[in-house]
Symmetry: D2
Subunit: 367 residues, 4 copies
C-alpha cells in the first residue's frame, strides 16, 4: 500500500532510489501565485549535499533540481509541481556485494521480507537520498510560511556528547558550520569527535532541534491530527530518528505539575506564557509560543569495521560494509527536519482556515 | 478540517465530549467474521476507568459500552461498528467557572483561538474522556491481533522518579496494580509518591512502555507511513504525551554505530538479532524482533494549588482549578497507549497484504 | 477496507443497519459557530420518511434524530457531531426467510461472497435506511450553504414515463407532493402510475434532478477531484442509481461543438453564459452558472410477484419477497440526492479556500 | 487543495501541463515483483497519441515514456514508480492569443477565477495531455489484472449518430480503427461524419463503453466507496465526459422491476445471472457478471468557427480558436476510460483482501 505520500491539503508524493535515474517529488495542492525559482529550492538541497568536510561522505552529489511542472511565468499555478533531481555520480558496482547479505542497522532484511527482493544499490528507496524529495517540497513551504512571518529553524543541538551552548546561539552560523551547529566552538569540538570516530571506523549520532516562531494559537486539529502528533510522525519518518520530543520532552515525566504548567500572562494586551515547557503546543494545538521539537538521531549504521550478520541464505557471515558513508548523518539531516516541520505546519494552517462557519462565509462574501 | 479520524484500512472516527450526552466511535473497515461481544470491549474500558485508589480521581464513571451496529449473531459483519458510552455522572456545575479563564497546561486557550468559543465543561472534546473511543476501537484490534499470535502489552514504566525493576516484571501484575506497573514493589513506592503529591496539591508524570511481540518482519510502509512514524503519531496524539521513543530512543544520540547496530544471527534456521537497540524497527519496517515504544507523560495540569493565568478578557488572574482530578494520568493512559499501538500495527499489517503482485494474484486464485 | 466515510475537509462516517439498534453518522471537521438544533436535521429526515401515501411503504419509521456531541449552547463546536436515529418499528421476523436465498436486484449475493455471511434483516447495511446518516449530515451542509446564498434543490423529474412540465415548476411543491415532483399535475399522473404498478405487484424507477445555484466560479479541484467527478460519485453511491448526468448529459454525445459550447457574455459588468449545456461545470470547475445533475433510479428490486433465483446452497428456487416495500424509491431518494450534493459542494468550497497563496496569507494577516 | 491524486491502496499522482517541460505520474503502492518494461506502458500511450488520420489533430506528439524509479532488474520494487513523458513538439506561440479571452466550453474562466491566472498554453493543466499520466499508470494495472484473468476492454460505441453494430463486434478491431470502434463498417461511416464536421469547422461527441470481465463477486466497499461510485468518479473526471451509465443506465428509469431485476441461476454448480441489466454491479458490489460502464463525451469545444465570448477585461468579443484540434476526442479517450477503470477495479480488489478476519489471519499464517 501507498506510503510515500504525506499531507492533507498539500500532498507531497516522493519517489526515487539512491541509484536509479533520478529522484524527486510531486507537490499537489500547493497554492497558486507564489513566485518560485529553481534557486529557491536549490538553496535547501545544497544544505543536505555532502560537503568537502570530514563530517560527510566524500561522494560527490550535485543534486541539481529541475522544475518540470506547476510553475508558469515564475509563479506557482496551483497545479502539481513536479521536481526532479537526476542521479549522476552513483556507482552501482560499489554495492553489488551487499545484495547477498543484510547490513545491521539497515532496512535490508525488512525490505526482502516485505517485497521478496530489493533494489540493493545504495539502499535503494531506503537510502538517505530519499530525503531529496522531502527537502525540495519543504523548501516551497518555508518560502510561503516566511511570507506569513513564520520562521522554521532547525540546527544540530549535539553530536555524541558535544552539545551547543545556547548563550552562543546564532541561527546564521548553522548554515556555515560543517556540523550545522549554531555555535562555532561546539562545532569545532564536534568535528574533532567526528574525525576520531571515523578514524576508529565507527560512527556517531546526535540531536537535531527545530524552533518554529510566529505560528498563531489554535493550529492543529483535535484528537488524531494534533500538531504534535503530525510533527512527530513527520520527524520520526526520517531515517535514523529514534525519538521525538516536544518542549521539555522526556524531562516532563519527572516534573511536577506546578513546575511543568506554563502560566499565561497578559503583557501590554498581548497574551503570552511566562515559561514554555509545553514547547508551544497544548492539547495538540499551538499555544502562540515558540514551537520546539527535537529529533534523536542514531549513529550511521554503515561503518567500516567488521560486523556479524547473516546472508540471504540465512547463514551467519562476517561483513565489511564498503562504500563512502557519512560518519554522522546529523548535519545533513538538519534541513530535512526543518523542511518536514514546515510542511506539517503549513498543511495544518490551511486546515485551520475552515475552523469556523464565519471564516468560510466571510471568505466567499469578499469575492 | 477533520482531525478525529485515524487509520488507512480500518478507519476509526471518535466523537464525544466530557460532559455531552455520550462518547463513542465508529470503526469502519473492520474485517467480518470475528466474534465480538460488549464484554470484549468493556474489559479494556474498565482499565481506563477511574478506580477507588488514590492514583485516580474519585469521580465515578461507569462507562458501559453499547454496540449499536456492525455486529450480527455475535460476529462482526464487515460494516461500520458503532460503539457508544453514555455519560452519566458528569456534573457540569463544577466547571462553569472555568469558562471565563484559561487553565495553564490545558487546551482552553488554543480552542478559543481556533473556534471562537469552546465547550468548557470538563475540557469538552479535549478531555481525557475522549480516549474512550480510542480504547473501544483498539480493543477489537487487540482481539484480532491475538488470533495471529501478536501480543500488545503496555504498562507503567515509571511515575516521577520511581521506576519498575525489570527483574520483577510480570505482565499480569499491570492489570491489578493501581499504577498499572508490572512490578508490585515499585507500585507501592509509586503510590506513596502519588499520595504525597496529592497532599501537596500537586501532580506527577511518568513513562508508559509498550511491547509488541509476534509481528513478522516487513510491516510498515516506506518513507512517510513507516511503522515508527505512525506509532509515534498514534501515541503522541494522546493528551499529555510529550515525547516518544522507539527502542533505545533518546539514548541513541550518544551511542556509537558499533554499539547501536544489532547484529543479525541465524539460530536453528530462524533469523533473529543478538541485541534489540532498534526496538524492533529498522528503516521504518518491523525487523521481526519485539517492538518497543515509550511515551513520556506530563504531570496532570489540573492541580489544586493556586496558579497564575489570564481570563478570556485578557486580564491577569489567580485561579484555583476545582473539580476531581487524577494526581497522575499515567495509570489510566496505559490502556490508551496499548490500544493505539494495536490499531496502528493491525492497520499496517493489512496494508502489507498487497506488498507483492504474487500476494494479490494468489489471494484471488484460491477463491 | 473502510468505505463508509466520505469527504476531504468535512468527513462523514455513516453507520447502522436496517434492523440494528440504531443508525447514524459522525460529521468530523464541520466548522464551529453555526447554530444547530435537532429540528434543523429532522426537517430533512422527515422528507425521506415513508409517508401515508401510496407512493411509499406502509412501514412506520419515526426516525427521530438525536444530537449526541459537537453542539454546545446551540452552536456547533468544530468537533465531531454525532447523530443517532434509533430503530423502533423493525420486525426482524419478516425477513428470516430471505436469509436462505439471494434476492434478484439486491446486494445479497455480493455481501455473502465478500464477507462470508450477511446481516439479512431488511438488507442490513445495504438497506435504503443507510441513507439516514447521509441525509442527517447533509442537512447541516445545506444550512451552511444557505448562509452563503447557495441553494440546493432536488426533485423528482420523472417516474416511469411521467415527466414534470417545467412551465409548472414550483420548488415548494416538491415538499408537499407524495412523489416529490415540483408539478402537481405530473404528480397526480405519476401517483396513478404507481398505484397501477403496485396492483400489478411490480415497481417503477424514475429520474431525480438537482439544481445548485449561487456557487461561484472555480469550485472543484483539477483532474481527479473535479466537481463533476465528486458529484457523480456522491450520487452514484446512492443505492439504485444507475446513471448520472451533468447538464445536457447523455444528449451531448450527439451534439455538435457549435451547439454544445455555451457562449460567455458580459451583461452589466457581470459575466454569465448565454446557454447552460455544461450544467454549470467546465473542465471540472464550476463556471458560475446553475449546476445541474440528474440521477437515474432503477425500479425497486423488491417486488411482490414470484421471481427466479438461487438459494445459498446454489440451488435454483422460486421466491416471493415478503415485507413492506416502496413501489418506487424515487420520492424518498430526492432528499438523499439533495444532501449528498450539498455535502460535496461545501467540501469543495472549503478546499478552494487555499487555492492561492494570497488567500492564505490574507487569512492570517487579518487575525 | 490537492486534487491530482487518486486511489486508496495504489495512489496515482499525476502532473504536467500541455506545454510544460514534461508530464507524468507517480504510482505509489504498486505491488512488487511484477515484470515491467517501458514498452508495456508505451503500448497504451500510443493508443492515445494523435494519429495520421482525419479523426485526430495533425499535431505530432511522440510521447515516449521513461521509467525513472520503482523498477529494478525488470521488476517493480513495491516503491513509487515515477513515469515521465517529455513534451517535444509544443509551440507555445500558437496559444498566446488565448491568454486574453475565455474559450467557450473550456476551463479557462474557472481557472482564472480560482487561481487568479492560468497557464494558458494549450490549456495548461486542463489540457487533454493531462491524461498521459492516467494512461501510463493504468497500463500497469491492466497488466496486473490480466495476470488474474481480468480483462478491461473499452471502445468507441458511437460518434455522433453512428453506432456500432454488436453483431460485428471484435475487440481487436478497436486497436486498429481510427475511431477505436470494434466494428469496421461503423468506423468507416463515423470517419465520413468526422470529415464532414471538420469541413464545417465543427466538432462531434460520442459514447465510450467499457467492459470488464473476470471480476469476482463482492468487489467494492459498501456505501461511499461502491464499485459503481468509484468507477463513475474515475470516468467523469476525464475531461469532456458529461454522463456515466452502469449497465442499462438511463434506461432503467423507465423500466419495471420485473424486467430490470436479473434472475440468478445456477448452471452446472456455477452461479450466474440470466440477464445483466445491472451491468455487473448490485448494491455497489460486483455481482460476478461482466461489468459495463458507458461514458458520454461532449464534442470538442475547440472549433475553428467564430464564437462569441468575453475577454479577461470582461468585454464581449468574437473569437477564433486557433491551433490544431481533434474534431472528436472520443477515439483518443477510449484508452483513458480503459485505464481509469482498470485502476479503480484493481484498487478495490486490494481493498477487498481484508474483508474478513479469516483472510487476514490466513495470510499471515502461511508465512
Amino acid at each position: 500500500m501507498s506510503g510515500s505520500i504525506t499531507g492533507k491539503n498539500i500532498k507531497v508524493s516522493t519517489w526515487g532510489e539512491s541509484h536509479g535515474k533520478a529522484l524527486g517529488c510531486v507537490i499537489d495542492g500547493f497554492p497558486a501565485g507564489m513566485d518560485l525559482t529553481e534557486e529557491d529550492i536549490q538553496n535547501f538541497l545544497d544544505r543536505r549535499k555532502p560537503g568537502q568536510t570530514d563530517a560527510s561522505t566524500p561522494r560527490k552529489e550535485d543534486d541539481i533540481v529541475e522544475i518540470l511542472s506547476g510553475v508558469f511565468n515564475g509563479k506557482t499555478t496551483g497545479t502539481p509541481i513536479s521536481l526532479m533531481v537526476k542521479n549522476t555520480s552513483q556507482k552501482s558496482a560499489d554495492y553489488k556485494e551487499i545484495a547477498s547479505y543484510y547490513r545491521p542497522g539497515h532496512a535490508d532484511y525488512g525490505y526482502d521480507q516485505k517485497y521478496g527482493f530489493r533494489d540493493y544499490r545504495g539502499g535503494g528507496r531506503s537510502s538517505g537520498r530519499e530525503t531529496i524529495g522531502r527537502v525540495a517540497a519543504g523548501a516551497l513551504c518555508i518560502k510561503l510560511l516566511e511570507k506569513m512571518g513564520i520562521k522554521v529553524c532547525a540546527y544540530t543541538k549535539s553530536i555524541g556528547d558535544v552539545e551547543i551552548d545556547y548563550s552562543k546561539f546564532d541561527p546564521a552560523t548553522r548554515l556555515i558550520t560543517p556540523t550545522a551547529m549554531p555555535d562555532e566552538e561546539a562545532d569545532k569540538r564536534a568535528m574533532d569527535l567526528i574525525r576520531a570516530a571515523k578514524e576508529a571506523k565507527d560512527s556517531l549520532g546526535g540531536v537535531i532541534e527545530c524552533r518554529i516562531t510566529g505560528v498563531p494559537a489554535g493550529i492543529g486539529e483535535p484528537v488524531f491530527d494534533k500538531l504534535d502528533a503530525l510533527l512527530s510522525s513527520a520527524v520520526m519518518s526520517i531515517g535514523a530518528v529514534k525519538a521525538v520530543e516536544i518542549g521539555d520532552g522526556v524531562a516532563v515525566s519527572r516534573m511536577k505539575g506546578s513546575v511543568n504548567n506554563d502560566a499565561f500572562e497578559a503583557v501590554a494586551q498581548r497574551i503570552s506564557k511566562k515559561t514554555n515547557h509545553s514547547g508551544g503546543i497544548l492539547g495538540g494545538l499551538s499555544d502562540g509560543s515558540e514551537i520546539i521539537i527535537r529529533a534523536h538521531v542514531k549513529p550511521t549504521p554503515s561503518i567500516a569495521s567488521t560486523q556479524e550478520s547473516i546472508n540471504n541464505q540465512g547463514a551467519n557471515v562476517e561483513i565489511n560494509v564498503k562504500g563512502r558513508h557519512d560518519p554522522v548523518v546529523v548535519p545533513r539531516a538538519v534541513v530535512v527536519v526543518e523542511t518536514m516541520c514546515a510542511l506539517t505546519v503549513l498543511d495544518l494552517m490551511i486546515s485551520n482556515m475552515s475552523a469556523t462557519a464565519d471564516a468560510i462565509t466571510d471568505f466567499y462574501k469578499k469575492r
